[in-house]
Structures are given as C-alpha cells and as structure tokens.
C-alpha cells in the first residue's frame, strides 16, 4: 500500500497557493482594462483623450499643474510617468524607441545629453516648429533642439548656465577676497579666462600649503571648458574630427591634466563618486563650476558645512551644463494634441511654477525676467541673488557646442584618460592622451 502523500501543511500550502493564483489572475484581468493612452486615430477636438508625459528626477510638474490643463482642455487628461534618474529614463526611452516607438509617452522629457540621438533620428519625432513660439527660448537653447534642416524637435524646459560656486570661509582663511563681487573681479570679471582661474588657484593651493584643492574634479572642470568650443569633436556636418590631430582638445586635455595633478589644483576625485560626495565634508576644495541644479547637490552633500557662496563670473565667457527638452515621439497617437500640450507646459507661466517647485532654472526669456525668478535668492548660498546671477550667466552663453552622434563616445574617451591620470594616478599626461587616441581609433569612425 502506498501511503505517501503530502502532509497536511503542504496540502494547505498547495491549496492556498492555487487559490492565490486564481485570485491573482482575476485581479490581473480586472486591472488590465486601464493603461495605455486613448486608442482612436481620428483627431476629433472633443474626443476624450489621455496624454502621458514622461519625466525623470524632478521636473517640478505637480499633478495640480497638469490638472489645470484639463480646465482649459476639458477633453484632455494628463498623466505623468516619472523615472527616478535620467539614466533609468534613458534606458526606458531608448529601449522603446529601439522596438519601434510603441509605448513611448506622448510627450517625453529628454536630457540635453540624449538630444544628439533625437536629432539623429529626427523622423521618429514630431516637428514642433511654431512661428508663434519664436523668441520664447534663449536662442542657444532653441538651437540645441533644432535639426540641420531647421525642424524644431524639442521645447526647452530648463537650462544650466554656469557660475562659480566657492567656499567663502576657505577663501578668507587663505587670504583671498571672499565677497562675491570681489571674487568675480579676482577671476577677471567679464574677461575671466581659464588661465586666470588656474593662476589664482595655484596661489590659493600654495597658501593652503596643499591642504585644500582649488576645484573638485578634473572631469567637471574639463566639461566646463569643452562646452565653450563650437566644434569640439565633430564638424558641423556630423563627421568626427580625428582626435590624434585635434589640437584644441589636446591642449585642453594637457592643460587640465597638468593643472589638476602636477600643480595639484584638483581634489583628485571623479564627479558623483562616493569620494567626491564625501569631499564636500572634508574641506577638500574651494571652488567648482556650478549650474543652478548643482546648488542643490552642493547643499545635500555639504550637510551642515557653511560658507558656500556664488560669484557672478565664469571663466572663458558663459557656459551651459545640462538642461532638458520636451519632445513628441512620432509614434504617438495624438501627436497634434501632444504638441499643443508640450507648448503649454513649456510656456513661461508653467515653467515659473516648476521653478518654484524644483528650482529648475527656466530657459524661457520671459520666465527669467519674471520677479519670481529674477528676484529669487538661495539661502544656503549665503542668500546669493541666484535669479540675477543665473540670468547674467545665461546671457553670457555665446557658444553652443555641436554635439553630433559621436560627441559622447569621443568625450568619454578623453574624460576617461583624464580621470585615469588625475584620479587614479596612472601613467603620464602623454601616455594617457595616447590612450584616449587609441580608444578613439578603436571606435573605427574613420
């Protein structure tokens, strides 16, 4: 006689499991009706539709703000999909784009870093050109989203005009003027140059006897400098420049490498790494290139360290770091409605609300002039008049670097070599430059 059978607890588990599974399937079936945007292809003005807008991190778009669109457009409901970081959002965005575009949001927020992809595949996105919107954005912001044939592919949201954030207390301690205006003057005021910046830095580091570095990281400084070249790695037709004969970049590389390591101006950390984050606590450096969104990072990382301030100056003219756009994927079902919505969301009034919510400095000329932005101050930065400073810094931006399809690949090769030299202490300036050139050659771009 066979008497092997599941013991009682096991039976209970099996039965329980089966019923949970059945329940789950029912629940799934019930919940599967929602999701996805509207389905009709016809564009009836009164048809009820749902528009999705995909953002990441914190764009400052509250549900109240989005709901207010429904008040003026009763047939439209807006749903926001948020990803945590721009990296997560990018993986999501590119995967769906790679699979043909199905499932993308109607309006997609795109970081400036992925704009080359959008420009490269412009037929996958809706042309957002609209005469009535001319002049809404700073010229260089609109230019970043304009395809070679003149199509406007993205509406600007925020920008990242750079100023110099500095440690007032450390400046005082090592004998530099600490008042923001004096600091701006010290670095050359309107005619501030990188040479001057490095020169003051050498003085400072000498005064601190090497205890405090001048700036946070070689890569942060390099990106600020490379962002002031019109065609850093590629010609305007998109063809890459041979890195081995790219004298501008080689000069920049050698300058940053030597100043960072040989002259000891950098704190020898790579941006965003744990050491870099910790260095804010250790009085490890005194200045850094600083777009508006960076002030939030400084505040978080500094955690109680007082003495930060902002000087209304930037070496080598203006510079921009970061900022985003809203694009409308062509695969969407309501591209016309989505375009209208994106235009509304990037209108000065809405961006003002977003600035209040998340401190994303607006790219709209009107919004920058509004007192809510222009008169704003930053308490952590010693009550610096950030509204005025960043408006000036945005106006100072004259050069928009051309970022073609290979910009980030080549930029990574150079930055990697810089980090290998300064942060990880490998080889010489020469050998690391050669490594960057080798990495470029391995790309096989011709």
């Amino acid at each position: 006689m066979l008497t092997h059978r599941p013991s009682r607890p096991a039976r209970r588990i099996i039965v329980a499991g089966a019923s949970v599974a059945a329940l789950a399937l029912t629940l799934t079936a019930c919940s599967s009706d929602d999701g996805g945007s509207g389905s009709s292809k016809t564009q009836d003005a009164n048809e009820k539709i749902t528009l999705t807008v995909a953002t990441f991190n914190n764009f400052g778009y509250t549900q109240d703000l989005l709901d207010s669109y429904t008040k003026t457009h009763p047939n439209v409901t807006v749903k926001q999909e948020i990803a945590a970081t721009s990296d997560d959002a990018k993986a999501n965005f590119t995967t769906k784009l790679a699979a043909g575009g199905a499932g993308l949001a109607d309006v997609q927020a795109v970081d400036i870093d992925w704009m080359p992809t959008v420009l490269q595949y412009e037929d996958k996105f809706t042309d957002l050109s609209d005469k009535s919107l001319d002049g809404r954005w700073l010229d260089w912001k609109a230019k970043q989203a304009t395809a070679p044939d003149g199509k406007l592919l993205g509406y600007g949201t925020d920008i990242g005009p750079e100023a110099i954030c500095y440690r007032q207390d450390l400046f005082e301690k090592y004998g530099l003027p600490s008042d923001p205006d004096k600091v701006a003057e010290l670095l050359g005021g309107k005619d501030a140059t990188w040479d001057k910046y490095f020169q003051v830095g050498e003085q400072f580091v000498a005064a601190s006897k090497g205890k405090v570095a001048w700036y946070d990281s070689p890569d942060g400084t390099y990106q600020a400098m490379v962002g002031q070249l019109a065609n850093p790695y590629e010609n305007s037709d998109g063809t890459p420049k041979d890195l081995s004969s790219n004298a501008d970049i080689k000069a920049l590389f050698e300058k940053v490498a030597t100043e960072s390591k040989d002259k000891g101006l950098s704190a020898h950390n790579q941006e965003w790494q744990p050491d870099w984050t910790a260095s804010f606590q250790k009085d490890a450096f005194a200045t850094m290139a600083c777009p508006p969104w960076m002030t939030a990072s400084i505040e978080t990382n500094s955690g109680g360290v007082k003495g930060w301030n902002i000087a209304n100056v930037f070496p080598g003219g203006g510079g921009n770091w970061g900022g985003s756009f809203l694009v409308v994927p062509a695969a969407g079902k309501h591209t016309a409605a989505a375009k209208e919505f994106a235009a509304w969301l990037t209108a000065p009034e809405q961006q003002l609300a977003a600035y209040k919510q998340a401190n994303n400095y607006p790219s709209q000329v009107e919004a920058q002039k509004d007192s809510a932005v222009a008169d704003s101050t930053n308490k952590f930065m010693n009550n610096a008049p950030v509204g005025k400073i960043f408006a000036d810094r945005a106006a100072a931006v004259t050069v928009t670097p051309f970022k073609g399809p290979n910009y980030f690949t080549i930029n990574k090769a150079v930055t990697d070599a810089l980090v290998a030299y300064d942060v990880q202490g490998k080889g010489s300036v020469e050998s690391n430059w050669n490594a960057a050139v080798d990495a470029y050659k391995a790309l096989g771009l011709g």
Binding site: Y121, Q270, P274, A278, S279, A420, G425, A442
Partner: protein, 346 residues
C-alpha cells in the same frame, strides 16, 4: 493508494478482480501514459520559453549578422563582419580577462565556503530557522542599499576600509585604480550576495542524504571529517555539479555587481573592471548604440560560457565521482547511491 485524498481523480486502481477485467484498456492507457507523460511534464517550460525566450534569442542572432544601430534599426546584412570587428577590439579581450578573473575570485571561494557553511548548518543546531534565514539576508537587500554600502566601504580616498588601513599605518588600497584590487572588491560583493544562496542549495541536498549512511560510518569509526569527505560530498554530487554549472554560467555573465561598483557603471576609466556583459551593454546602449556588435558579443560570450560550463562539468563530475568511489569502498558497506544507478523507469 486509498489514502490519497488529495488526488484530483478517484483511484483508478481498484480491487484485483476489477482490474483484471479492464486490463486491455488500462494497459493501453498506461502505455500511452508512460509515453506521453514526460513530454507533457516538460511542455510548460518549452511552451512559455518558446514565447518569451526563443524569440529574443533568434532576434539577437539575426541582429548580430547585420549592421544595426539601437534606434536606427537594421542597415544591411553584413555576414560575420560584426564578429571579426569584435575580435580586433582590445576592449573585448580586456573584458574577457576581467570577467574570467572576477569569476575565479568569486566562484571558487563561494562554492567552498557555501559547502562548509551548509555542513555547519546541517548539524543538529538550535534555532535552525534563524540561522538558515540569516545567511540568506544578503540576497534580499535591494541593490541600491548594497551599492551605497559597498561604495562607502571601497571608496579610494575616504572609504571605510582605507580609513581603517590608514589609521593603523598601512597604505591605502586603490580599490578603483588598481585593477586587481577592483576585481577583489567586486568579487567580495558577489560573494556577499550569493554565498548564503548557495549554502541553502547545498543544505537542501545534504538534508536528503540518508541518515543510515552516517550511522554506518559512525559504527565503522569514521570521524566527522571522514564522514564529510566520504559521505556528504559524494552524496551531494548532483548538487555540486548543479552549483558549479550555474555559478559558471552566472559568474561569466556577471553584470549587476561591477555595474554598481561605481556610479557610472561603465567599468572604469581604463576598463579595469568592465566585464563582457557590461561591454556588450555599453556597445548597445552606450553612446555608440551599436546593437549589431553588441549582439555579436552576446553570442561570442555564449560560446565561451558553454565551453567553460562543459569543462567545469567534466572536472566536477570527475572529482565527485572519484570521491564517491573512494568513499563507498572505504566504508566497506558497498552501498550504492541512487545517483550511480543507470536505470530509469520506463
């Protein structure tokens, strides 16, 4: 049979005389049962795999034979150009080296420690649930927490380990700048997460080892070590093979740990800890967006993994078989384990 209350159908086997009357039909039914059942039992796996697994595989194969960018899609058939191009990339060979070294530094200690821990847990200890669940905790901690913790442990300048080393007068270790140190740090992360997991797998196998084998060994005067090497190890042979193969496959596909080793997740400025799966991810999803080459790397890695898995299979089965033989003969009882038996039920 009558006690089978949970069976979905009433017992098909009745009293003997009833069975004899229906022998023709039930025999045919039974033959059909024997023939078809195995296929029926394995079919759920193959059906669902065909839908969710096979298409992606074929798709990857198809992509690897084309010039194919992530967003732009297919741009012409190129045969094996992607493969030959990959062979010329020093980054590919570097990534294989890194993968292999991290694999060695993690898998070998992992399997050994897991077996030992399992043997310890297999004793008659108090609070079994607590200890068993305790070792599995690392497996459930979210990667963001693990990344944060190991980031603080292994930071080059201000990390906990280097601060401690510095405090006792030892030189700091370049966890990210030194290639070997970066492999060791990543292997530590891997081991931390997976030792408990493998321990429980071994433990389950050890629990199935018949007690009378140990009783017999005790009678024969075998000590604990002797029992471990002569009974436990040979008896869990199938599981050892299982763990060795799965950790070979998993270890050579190592992706999450090296990706969280720094915040960029690209494998270091000099590719010090860029593994092959990271390389293929960077090729496809990085700025190059070269999906064709990424797919080619995926297939090359597949071949490498299969070769390694086969080597490990032969090595581990050879080792545990010889141990099994030694074990049983030394024991003098000549009891064959069921795994040695060749027969299968028909």
């Amino acid at each position: 049979m009558t006690a089978l209350t949970t069976a979905p159908t009433p017992p098909r086997v009745g009293p003997p005389e009833k069975r004899r009357r229906r022998v023709g039909f039930s025999q045919r039914l039974s033959r059909w049962d024997v023939k078809v059942s195995p296929y029926l039992y394995i079919s759920p796996f193959f059906i669902i795999f065909a839908i969710t697994g096979l298409f992606p595989l074929l798709y990857t194969g198809w992509v690897s034979l084309h010039k194919w960018t992530l967003i732009g899609g297919e741009a012409g058939y190129t045969g094996f150009d992607n493969f030959t191009a990959i062979f010329q990339q020093s980054e590919f060979w570097l990534s294989l080296r890194n993968t292999f070294m991290i694999f060695l530094l993690s898998s070998v200690p992992q399997v050994i420690i897991a077996i030992v821990l399992a043997a310890i847990l297999n004793q008659n200890i108090r609070a079994k649930t607590f200890w068993r669940m305790g070792v599995l905790i690392p497996y459930i901690v979210a990667p963001v927490a693990v990344g944060l913790i190991f980031g603080q442990l292994f930071a080059d300048q201000y990390g906990v380990i280097n601060t401690a080393l510095h405090a006792i007068g030892l030189p700091k270790i370049g966890w990210h700048s030194n290639t070997f140190a970066s492999w060791s740090a990543i292997a530590t992360m891997v081991n931390f997460r997976w030792i408990g997991y493998n321990t429980l797998i071994f433990l389950a196998a050890m629990q199935a080892v018949p007690t009378d084998l140990y009783e017999a060994a005790v009678i024969d005067g075998a000590g604990r070590m002797r029992q471990f090497f002569s009974i436990t190890l040979p008896q869990i042979r199938a599981t050892i093979i299982f763990v060795v193969i799965t950790s070979t496959i998993g270890g050579l596909q190592i992706f999450d740990e090296p990706r969280t080793f720094d915040v960029y997740g690209t494998g270091g400025p000099s590719h010090q800890w860029e593994t092959t799966t990271m390389y293929l991810w960077n090729l496809g999803w990085g700025p190059q967006q070269n999906l064709g080459r990424a797919a080619a790397v995926a297939w090359l890695l597949f071949v490498v993994i299969v070769i390694f898995a086969l080597i490990n299979y032969f090595v581990s089965s050879r080792i545990s078989t010889s141990e099994a033989r030694r074990g049983t003969s030394k024991q003098g009882r000549g009891r064959r384990s069921s795994t040695d038996r060749k027969g299968a039920v028909r």
